[in-house]
Symmetry: C2
Subunit: 201 residues, 2 copies
């Protein structure tokens, strides 16, 4: 025996978190055992408050305001409800928000599985958007931006999404592909360079 | 605003854990918000039980048995208290235990800082070993194995440790250096190859 069942359980629980493998989980447990009890108590208390955070039923970002049904973006009247960016992850939303260039709203689908197919939950989220377009926008909105990362599976998912929503929007685009700022033509791969040529402006 | 102060605090606390940066901490928070409340409750409950795990005052590994002062390795009469392996981390102990080849006991120093100097805490741990050797072994034990990883800083720390303990043991060794099993001479770096030549047997 090296660990008690209790400790093994904690290692297994931590190893299930995204980006944490069994080895790092073990290291975390040792770190926590060696931490001050107050540090651990504070971490536990703060984690406990996560239970009070809800998911926005409109865009599926987090909604931290217990007194509100929707998140602060979906409540923001200055942002057009007729422009929707469709994203994979909450962290993608944060990156887009940092640009200060998207003044529409969002729909977060959740992590795409390998293969690029949408799962039931993701289809259900797309359906909430479709229904809202029918009910609140007479079946058509101004713009949908499919901001899914340009990977092989992302491309497949983006195609599916665009096919599904094509008829419900005046304009449907994908996030632009090309050379990253600071990138070097010499070292760019062929696919990126092809897209950069196609998107010349 | 993207996050409330509460969420920011959780991100900061998680980002302080070893191997977790601010970006992964953010991703973890989103993951936890989207988790089932029961999963979160279970994680918190299990984390809370870490408070009951102590550190063994002899070897500084974890001691999960609340009714015992020392850890199960230090209590194991079949393991020689006169052979001590000095390690940096608990995870190094686990790796050595997996070989089933070390039947002595251990002393864990804690993470070495860049520079290879021992900090106050690490010197204090070495001193507990020295005192034990004086009091329980008449000033000399059979063997000390300095099992510190053979890095630049590890080598420096190992030298310091060996100088400190030289007079208190019949035999003091460092963990063997050479080609890893499955390694290829062609691709081994010069330092490893020099050590492998020196340690030929």
């Amino acid at each position: 025996m090296i660990f008690s069942n209790q400790t093994k359980k904690l290692i297994n629980l931590l190893a299930k978190l995204p980006g944490i493998g069994p080895r790092q989980a073990t290291r975390l447990v040792f770190h926590l055992v060696n931490s001050e009890k107050e540090t651990l108590t504070e971490l536990i208390k703060t984690l406990d408050e996560v239970k009070n955070i809800n998911t926005c039923p409109k865009c599926f970002f987090i909604n931290e305001d217990k007194d509100e049904k929707f998140c602060y973006i979906c409540r923001d009247e200055s942002r057009s409800p007729s422009s929707i960016a469709i994203l994979e992850k909450e962290t993608d939303l944060i990156s887009l928000e940092r640009t200060n260039k998207w003044r529409g709203r969002y729909l977060i689908l959740g992590d795409l599985k390998r293969g690029g197919f949408l799962n039931d939950n993701q289809n259900a989220r797309l359906n909430t958007l479709k229904e809202r377009i029918y009910q609140e926008h007479n079946g058509k909105i101004d713009e949908i931006l499919v901001a899914i990362s340009p990977t092989a599976f992302g491309d497949l998912a983006a195609q599916t999404i665009m096919k599904e929503l094509y008829a419900l929007t005046n304009k449907i685009t994908r996030i632009g592909r090309g050379l990253p700022i600071g990138g070097d033509i010499e070292f760019a791969d062929e696919d990126t360079l092809s897209e950069a040529l196609r998107n010349r402006n």
